[in-house]
Amino acid sequence: MTENARRGVRVEADALTRRFGDHLALDGVSLTIAPGEAFGLLGPNGAGKTTFIRCLTGTLLPSGGEVRVDGLSPTRDPGAVRARLGFVAETSRLYPELRVEGFLRFAAGARGLAGRARADAVARVIERFALGEVAKRLVGHLSKGFQQRVSLAQAFVADPPLVIVDEPTGGLDPVQRDEVQSLLRSLRGERTLLLCTHDLEEARALSERVAVVNRGRLVALGATSDVLAGDPLALFRAEAAA
């Protein structure tokens, strides 16, 4: 891990708004994630979590407000922002026809690593995410748990200071969930980790602070133990966003 990754980056959203026609998917969300923090973005399905992440990664333009990574806007400086982040998508968005090692080589190359640096980076993530036994297998032939590990490995291959993980355990069985959560726990503290989930237990186990969004609005923000104390499900109900 590099010094850059260890420090992590600051993420700031300032009145971030996104509309899809008449539907307001994000309604003036403002929050700050400190460098090196493990931050959970919580909310029911359709709350606006993925929209927030897509604005952050620059794959979606905000309708209003702004989001910044390390002071940089994904809209104005997409290349610089992408150089600082690794992204693990909601479902394992991978190439089933590629072999694990080949896919990781591609991910490293696409992040600008070449030659020896690329080979070392691939070897490092294969070891870290325990992918050695499946390195030569096709991604499409792996279990969902292994696919999620591959997805995590590609996000970490260039050692980015910010890693965004969207619904990391969706569709996994309990054993696979435990494996992936253990991996994510081991990653805390070494870089900024933004975890997007609707699973309260997952957020409790992996995040230092959480924000809860509901119907596009920020309804709670604070230390995980404070926000999720009492009846956290109330934050997920429609009335919370009213």
Partner: protein, 263 residues
């Protein structure tokens, strides 16, 4: 450049991991061979008719001048091949962008250090290379006919350039259609529609007036393709196909911006 080359390698691996690439290569060669041998069979039948019934025996000087390999086999094969490519090329291009969108891997690509322009360039480059290989393979039979028909090497080269440009033009249109859809079927149908409409507008000339007719002729593919088949290499025709490629690439690049706005 490293990121671009990594994507090119990935595109090649993805293309050849799919049976579609091999299927398309086989299909184009098979269809070309069928078209060629069918025309050759007709040509032989015509020769046989002249040889057996009319003259009571085959003598070369009894066969009219227009009955020759060039006019009876070579040009009809190229004409049929040109139309056949309109149907076949979208089978290759339909998946290029649409499959990424359907899987959601387009967002993965964008969160890597790849700009939309690099993604478009890499996908166009790999598709172009594959189409060129396909054309080289399919050109064997027309080339054989040409050698027998006594058409010169320069003419042969012009025909290959024309055939390749025509295929690349169709590939460009197919890629642009694929870039705006997450359904491979929709992308293929759109490519077929655009390809057939752009192939030849000459029929519309009678309905739209002289000036509009001239314009439609200007944007038709067939006159350019036909010109290369005749052995005429014209810069204007190069510019036409280059323009088709550039406009298609620009549209594919625009599709990324459009999705960032539309979601």
């Amino acid at each position: 450049m490293t990121a671009f080359l990594a994507l090119v390698r990935k595109e090649l691996a993805t293309l050849f991991a799919s049976p579609l690439a091999y299927l398309a290569l086989t299909l184009v060669m098979l269809v070309t061979a069928l078209i060629f041998f069918d025309h050759l069979r007709i040509y032989n039948q015509i020769l046989f008719l002249y040889a057996s019934s009319t003259m009571g025996g085959f003598e070369t000087d009894t066969v009219p001048d227009h009955i020759n390999v060039r006019d009876s086999v070579f040009f009809p094969v190229l004409e049929t091949l040109g139309i056949t490519l309109i149907a076949l090329i979208p089978v290759i291009t339909m998946r290029v962008f649409a499959e990424e969108r359907a899987r959601g891997t387009d967002e993965l690509l964008l969160t890597l250090r790849l700009s939309p322009a690099q993604i478009v360039l890499a996908k166009f480059a790999v598709t172009y290379a594959f189409v060129l290989v396909m054309m080289a393979g399919s050109f064997v039979y027309p080339a054989m006919a040409t050698l027998e028909g006594g058409i010169g090497t320069e003419h042969l080269l012009a025909v290959f350039v024309g055939l390749s440009l025509h295929a690349l033009g169709l590939a460009s249109l197919g890629l642009a259609c694929s870039a705006f859809s997450s359904s491979q079927l929709v992308a293929a149908v759109a490519s077929w529609a655009v390809g057939f409409v752009l192939w030849d507008f000459a029929w519309a000339g009678a309905f739209v007036g002289e000036q509009a007719g001239r314009f439609l002729d200007l944007i038709s593919m067939h006159p350019r393709y036909g010109s290369f088949a005749e052995g005429v290499v014209n810069l204007e025709h190069f510019a036409y196909f280059a323009g088709l490629g550039l406009v298609s690439a620009a549209l594919a690049r625009f599709s990324f911006d459009w999705r960032r706005v539309a979601g």
